[in-house]
């Protein structure tokens, strides 16, 4: 027990790697064994994070469960881990969604071992970003997460579909999507890497806490330029890297492609966790390292956020592909996260900022739940019908009443219905940003309105209306959602309801961290 307490974060971070290795050693021809082992082992980090959640002291300032190991002595970079209320929430989300996604992947029959192996590696990559307190380590894990995801999309993505690049040039959609995802993220992180190197060279350390202190206090000239100029450039380098990941309009077009082509569980993790990496970058790096720049450019960030909210909703409403519709909804919802962050950056130190930031962090968690749920539900129906085209469905409710109920429930969470989780966070963001960024908030309401439109469109086209007889009889007969799939949805739905009805249990942790940080 003592050992566990001392090394809790390392255990959570690297257990998935161990699990991946164990999965690798299993016989290839026993997929069922592999599935259950991967699922069972992925529960371990989850249980550890739950334990972490209860051991965590929300009222205590600074980072907790800190661990520091020498990693690259020559560069003075170390494996420095630690959690506060913000990262704790994200760690919990990650370790919860991974087993859920693995359980959702039981229907994957192709190269199960490699699939599970990559998935577990992915978990480590994501956790590393949330736990790192060292910029170099942060960057390493930031890139580590990319590779498994690339292969998951590229190898296990949907086989059908082509994408025309320009006249006459067509590529397979999943190749296109995976490459777009990979190159876009990497291109974005080039600037980030440069900026990180700048900081590292300047202060001979990559430790986030030390850097924050020294960098923000730096004045004078640097590289022959005023520090303010250098800071602004570095600020935008950070922002672009994270904005692509969030993704913020107009950097968002990789997302619908990647989400649409990824396997179901891949989309769940992509929407549920990977997008949060970008937002987390804003919270953990951009705001602490660049308080002045963030405040100065808050308007620009808010503008991009509002564009994401409005155009995300519009684009989602304009879809004929169910999965793409859900994918665009992520752009819409993550826009609220950025809006909250922008408001918090602008009004730093006020109550408005705290509320906006609370809303942003909670929105990250909430979107993780509802988006993962929505993608899973799209996957459920796709597995049965092999189509995602909304026009091919219609009136399926009588055939799949349980599925329909769950879909409506999850959709309503995504729509932001009061009583479910999405409302709480959206309300907090709107409340926090209204006095700070009034016009932007008002325009964002247009997006909120169209959130309703696209969610209802999805329900209308899939469940309601005259029954499409094609799915009612014979070999195409649509089967009801099965027990395993309900088990996948159950924890998500329970949390959606729990946060909606009584958000204080999670918001209290976030709130304390936010109050102390900003």
């Amino acid at each position: 027990m003592e050992f566990i307490n001392q090394h809790l974060l390392t255990l959570i971070l690297f257990f998935p790697v161990l699990a991946a290795v164990i999965v690798l050693l299993l016989p290839k021809d026993r997929p069922q064994v592999i599935r259950w082992t991967a699922f069972g082992l992925s529960l371990v980090p989850f249980l550890l994070s739950v334990y972490l959640w209860f051991q965590f002291q929300p009222g205590q300032p600074g980072f907790q469960f800190e661990e520091k190991y020498v990693w690259y002595a020559a560069l003075n970079s170390s494996l420095h881990l630690g959690v506060d209320g913000i990262s704790l929430t994200m760690v919990l989300l990650t370790t919860l969604l991974t087993p859920v996604a693995l359980l959702a992947s039981f229907s994957v029959a192709d190269r199960v071992k490699a699939y599970m192996f990559l998935f577990l590696l992915l978990e480590t990559g994501m956790l590393g970003v949330f736990l790192a307190l060292d910029l170099l380590i942060f960057f390493v894990f930031w890139e580590v997460g990319l590779v498994p995801m690339y292969f998951l999309i590229n190898q296990w993505g949907s086989e059908k579909g082509e994408r025309e690049l320009w006249k006459g040039v067509k590529v397979q959609a999943r190749n296109y999507a995976s490459l777009k995802f990979m190159i876009y993220t990497m291109a974005g992180s080039l600037g980030l890497l440069l900026a990180i190197q700048l900081l590292g060279v300047l202060f001979q350390t990559y430790d986030l806490l030390t850097l924050t202190e020294k960098w923000t206090a730096l004045e004078g000239t640097l590289l022959g330029l005023p520090v303010a100029t250098v800071k602004t450039a570095a600020f935008w380098a950070f922002v672009v890297a994270f904005a692509i990941k969030v993704p913020v309009w107009p950097f968002h077009t990789w997302l619908p492609d990647a989400h649409t082509e990824a396997p179901t569980a891949g989309s769940m993790i992509l929407a549920g966790v990977l997008l949060k990496l970008g937002a987390y970058g804003f919270l953990r790096l951009v705001l602490p390292l660049y308080p002045a720049e963030s405040a100065r450019y808050a308007g620009a960030l808010a503008f991009l956020a509002v564009m994401a909210i409005v155009f995300g909703a519009f684009a989602s409403y304009g879809q004929k592909d169910f999965k793409r519709l859900v994918a665009y909804s992520s752009v819409n919802h993550m826009g609220f996260v950025l809006l909250g962050i922008a408001a918090a950056a602008k009004a730093s130190g006020t109550l408005d900022a705290t509320i906006a930031m609370n809303g942003a962090v909670l929105q990250m968690f909430n979107h993780g739940l509802s988006a993962a749920g929505m993608f899973f539900l799209v996957g459920v129906i796709y597995e049965r019908t092999h189509t995602r085209n909304l026009d091919d469905f219609g009136g399926l409710f009588p055939l799949v009443p349980v599925y329909g109920g769950i879909l409506i429930f999850t959709s309503m969470a995504s729509l932001g219905l009061p009583g479910l989780n999405g409302f709480v966070s959206e309300f907090l963001v709107v409340r926090g940003s209204w006095p700070v960024l009034t016009v932007y908030t008002a325009v964002a309401m247009l997006g909120l309105l169209f959130t309703g439109a696209y969610i209802l469109k999805g329900i209308k086209q899939v469940l309601h209306g005259p029954l499409n007889e094609h799915w009612a009889h014979g070999e195409h007969k649509l089967t009801e959602i099965n027990a395993r799939e309900i088990v996948v949805m159950a924890p998500l739905m329970a949390l959606i309801l729990a946060i909606g009805l009584y958000p204080a249990w999670i918001l209290d942790v976030i709130n304390k961290a936010v109050t102390m940080l900003f």
Partner: protein
């Protein structure tokens, strides 16, 4: 039990019923409706206890029941939510509890509980009837003994689950002590409204109506959310009792905003009021309510007459102290209310669908209340809200009963082309359905404001008196005209439906509905008459003072400043007598001999088509929005511009790669440096290869010669 705890518990039974039915009992119809009705009964009982206890409190307005808990942490403090029952809340709770319970009971009969399952019934479509064989002989039926009876709703349990959730939303809204939970209840009702309008989701019309309702009200809701955010950030609280302190109100009234020169209070009030415009279906967001009649009739009665649409008015009543701070906002409110009252009444005159007439009537009556609030007649609006809830629920349930009776006739004749909701297919139903007729008559007279005995008279009269007393002439005249139209179309409806002779075979075979449907009608009819007596003005001729004006005293005490009752004047009384009786008389006169729509002179296209609002909105908003979404945002901006830009970058990179490959790598690196070096070595090797004879003696000779040469050179040059 402490009253506060009881209030906390009020919304819970229906919510519990929802979960129980969804998770466990949905296979068993009897169990499901027992759970739902039982839950509604429990909430009703609790509400009555709270109501009675509230009556017993001295100066209840100042000593309301209130209790709070911490809900959201915000920085160092907490956002608290809680429950509050003050006089307004208690009065609202009273009518909500009654109407909800009645409608729950009514639904059992309406959905044909106890009838056999339909022959071809399908989930998502209304039941079509079942063929049974029994001794009940029908001489004109060729298959002897076989006949068609109404069939039970296939999604019977689901209906009760939904209305349970709805009741939860309504109770939550009423007991809230703050705007946020009020909004929670508000939106949950919105969801239930969506689910229930689209209850028969297999019908495209129902499906579209559901979406229309949700989206239209959502327009209001997002503004309301902004209003809430504004209010919260301006005052730091959303709790009513904390907002309505003199200090806070003063702060809000002096806050300036850049929009329309409104004060902070005015702008917040306006934003919140837009939410009401959506929810209470006021012009210009009224378009959803008539379409919402696609839902089952109990839904129309409960959601679209008695409770949810009333919630909009309730919210304005709640926020009245804030709204009344800014005269500009009040003028807007009064204008929208009065305009809606008249505008909707004109449309109602030309509708032939029995439920649609009532739908427009509801819009019109809600406009009445809003107009009353706009001119500051707080108590009158609350009074009309409650009386209207009773008589409009009664009218809707009555119309449901009529439709049910007509459906019986349709099943009997088997002619499914006859629309059982079209009033021109009815006539003479008073003999076939006496209970329905008499209760409907009471409801209709209450709606028209039939003098002295009906509740509608007293509440409507009070509004007119208030408008008259405070000199709001425009509002007074508009409302008076609207009241005339109301009486007119009500009498038209009664005449077409119940009076005269049956106009179709189906109407001849209509049947009275079972007791589960008629009993709620009787109960509501009782209130439609008697509830008016609690608010008779003191100085009213003859009747005034017989019963104290309890309502005014009680509800008026909700406000910090007790509003003055309007002084009595004979003119508004005469006006309301004149328009009510005149409207009823002309309605009867004009329609007593009308046989078909062709003979109806008021079927003007512009009224028939609801002043073309649906078409205009479709053209102005719906189509552009879809174009904006699909064509502009997705296909043009994302696919063409942004992806195009990305692809251009990709293409440029490819081009750059191509240039590098073809003009640098290939010629310079490959050919010049790479191949060039090799070629040089090769050719020089070729040139030198003659000395490579393979004969060791040549090599030796060569080395000797070189040695000699170097020796000579060494000797001459260096030595």
């Amino acid at each position: 039990m402490a009253t506060e705890i009881l209030i906390w518990l009020l919304p819970l039974p229906p919510l519990l019923a929802f979960f129980l039915i969804v998770l466990f009992t949905n296979k068993n119809k009897a169990l499901s409706h027992s759970v739902a009705v039982g839950a509604a009964g429990l909430s009703w009982l609790g509400s009555m206890i709270v109501f009675v206890r509230a009556l017993g409190v001295e100066e209840f307005g100042k000593h309301a029941f209130e209790s709070v808990i911490n809900w959201l942490p915000t920085g160092e403090t907490w956002f608290q939510i809680g429950v509050r029952i003050d006089p307004l809340g208690a009065a609202t709770l009273f009518f909500v509890a009654w109407t909800v319970l009645m409608i729950f009971i009514y639904s059992i009969g309406y959905h044909n509980f106890g009838q056999p399952a339909g022959d071809h019934d399908r989930k998502g479509l209304p039941p079509h009837g079942a063929t049974v064989t029994d001794a009940h002989g029908h001489p004109n039926d060729p298959g002897a003994g076989k006949h068609t009876v109404p069939s039970v709703e296939p999604m019977y349990s689901r209906f009760f689950a939904f209305i349970g959730l709805f009741a939860f939303g309504m109770y939550t809204l009423v007991v809230s002590n703050n705007l946020l939970t009020l909004f929670v209840g508000w939106e949950i009702m919105g969801l239930c409204s969506y689910l229930l309008i689209g209850f028969w989701y297999g019908k495209p019309s129902a499906r579209n109506a559901a979406i229309k309702a949700f989206m239209t009200t959502r327009i209001g809701d997002v503004f309301m959310l902004l209003g809430i955010a504004f209010l919260y950030s301006a005052t730091g609280t959303l709790t009513f009792s904390e907002i309505f302190t003199e200090e806070t109100l003063h702060h809000l009234a002096t806050l300036s905003t850049p929009i329309l020169g409104l004060s902070g209070a005015g702008l917040i009030g306006l934003l919140l009021f837009i939410g009401t415009v959506g929810k209470s279906a006021q012009w210009p967001l009224h378009v959803w309510l008539p379409d919402a009649m696609e839902g089952p009739t109990p839904v129309s009665a409960m959601i679209h007459a008695a409770t949810m649409v009333s919630a909009g008015v309730y919210a304005v009543l709640r926020m009245f102290p804030l709204l009344s701070l800014d005269p500009a906002t009040m003028s807007i409110v009064a204008f929208i209310g009065a305009f809606t009252a008249l505008f909707a009444a004109t449309i109602a005159v030309a509708q032939n669908d029995i439920k649609r007439v009532l739908a427009y009537s509801t819009i019109s009556q809600l406009g009445y209340m809003i107009a009353a609030l706009g001119i500051g007649a707080y108590v009158a609006a609350a009074f009309h809200l409650i009386t209207h809830a009773f008589f409009k629920a009664l009218l809707f349930l009555g119309s449901g009963s009529v439709i049910h009776g007509m459906e019986h006739g349709v099943l009997h004749t088997g002619n499914h082309h006859v629309d059982p909701q079209d009033m021109f297919n009815m006539g003479g139903l008073r003999k076939k359905m006496p209970i329905t007729f008499w209760t409907f008559l009471i409801g209709g007279f209450a709606l028209s404001g039939f003098p002295a005995i009906t509740a509608g008279f007293w509440s409507k009269d009070e509004i007119l008196a208030d408008a008259f007393a405070h000199g709001h002439w425009a509002v007074f005249i508009t409302l008076a005209v609207a009241a005339f139209l109301t009486a007119f179309y009500t009498m038209r409806q009664i005449t077409l439906t119940f009076l005269g002779e049956p106009r179709t075979e189906e109407a001849k075979h209509a049947q009275e509905t079972p007791w589960t449907m008629t009993a709620p009608l009787v109960v509501l009819a009782f209130f439609a008459v008697t509830y008016g007596w609690v608010g008779i003005p003191e100085h009213f001729p003859l009747l005034g003072g017989l019963i104290p004006n309890w309502f005014h005293e009680f509800v008026g005490s909700t406000l910090a400043e007790h509003p003055e009752a309007a002084p009595f004047s004979i003119w508004p009384l005469l006006t309301s007598l004149g328009v009510a009786l005149g409207g009823l008389f002309f309605g009867w006169l004009a329609y007593r001999n009308v046989k078909s729509p062709a003979e109806d002179k008021l079927q003007l296209p512009v009224l028939k088509n609801k002043w073309y609002f649906d078409e205009a909105y479709d053209f102005l908003f719906v189509k552009p929005a879809y174009w904006m979404a699909e064509k502009f945002t997705y296909l043009f901006m994302d696919r063409q511009v942004i992806d195009g830009l990305l692809h251009a970058v990709a293409r440029f990179s490819l081009f750059l790669g191509h240039v590098f490959r073809n003009y640098f790598d290939k010629p310079v690196v490959n050919e010049l440096i790479g191949d060039g070096t090799a070629n040089l070595v090769k050719s020089s090797g070729k040139g030198l290869r003659f000395i490579q004879t393979g004969r060791v003696q040549y090599y030796m000779l060569a080395s000797m010669v070189l040695l000699v040469i170097f020796a000579v050179l060494y000797y001459f040059l260096l030595a």
